[in-house]
Symmetry: C2
Subunit: 210 residues, 2 copies
Amino acid sequence: MLGGPTSLIPHDDINQHRHETWIGVDHGTVYLLDQDIIPVIAVGDYDSLVAAERQQIEKQIKDIRYAQAEKDFTDSQMAALTAFADLKATQVNIFGATGGRIDHELVNLFMMTDPRFQDWLQQVTIIDCFNQITFYPSGNYQLPYQAGYQYLAFANLTPVKNLTLRQVKYELTDFSADNPVSWSSNEFLKDQPARFNFTAGIVAVILSHD
Amino acid sequence: MLGGPTSLIPHDDINQHRHETWIGVDHGTVYLLDQDIIPVIAVGDYDSLVAAERQQIEKQIKDIRYAQAEKDFTDSQMAALTAFADLKATQVNIFGATGGRIDHELVNLFMMTDPRFQDWLQQVTIIDCFNQITFYPSGNYQLPYQAGYQYLAFANLTPVKNLTLRQVKYELTDFSADNPVSWSSNEFLKDQPARFNFTAGIVAVILSHD
């Protein structure tokens, strides 16, 4: 749980996940404690927290890792790294990653394009009230039909080669470019999986609803 | 004015700009009319609008351009193109571009990396309640100190070469990478301009506050 605006956190989802293993990042840790979820690890510099919030964290959480402002990894990268390397996570769902400050949001969106995170590229999902984002390296994919999401988008976050979209409302064939593009407002065909493939780059798949 | 969540639109700013030339895009057109601002042009497919809203637009706006769902340009790209090519704008401020659906937000953020928009790269600013985003091609820049923004970030939206940051809290020297990175949470030095330069790529500068 990162420290993004709480208005974008899907509270029902959090409740369903409450018995899983949580890592709190900065103000996200306070949010978790407020929901009676005690993260196994807290990460951050806690700069933006008031004294009472810091005390609450220090009292309730055993493993607190203090990040430094000038460092190789951002708080959210450090949290993801901790999840995979220390907790041996096979799937990491990231909440509180979107909205508010766009520099922070882009840190989280671009994180999975960092070569240091390539091993875990397909094990991360960013989730908020409107969006569910997953990441793919080059390859050939079939995405199961998801009834709850009206819109389906593909965004090459890096240069991409031969991006092809099939079994979707708007098909695309062999798109290559050096600049990122968000192919927005596409849609699943009813009850059919979407298919996509590309030969180089990293593509984010964004499922969303209004 | 694009159709993003109105909660992120800085209403005071809009009021200050009310006598400028406006283009409304989809639901952004309704927002403008609600503020008693009549855009000179409306662009969109108006799919998401109710009949009363469509009628209001048709009654009040002389130049209405109907975009098609399957097309070379998104609504927001078409609006920017219209501003530059038809209205000969020298500066375009984009509101309603952030929040809500991330596929839409990325369309707007990535738009200025499109080769077709390179001539106008430095004439666009994306503005919401928390952020002000501008775009730069390779070169050597000096950014005036801005007291109102606590945070200063640099994000290479494309591959970048030799990105160097000077006269900022956290300096960076000759960073090159093929993946995008959001260098977040940097800060101006008091009363000093920030300096940055790079030799290839497109960099977004994000000024933000909490």
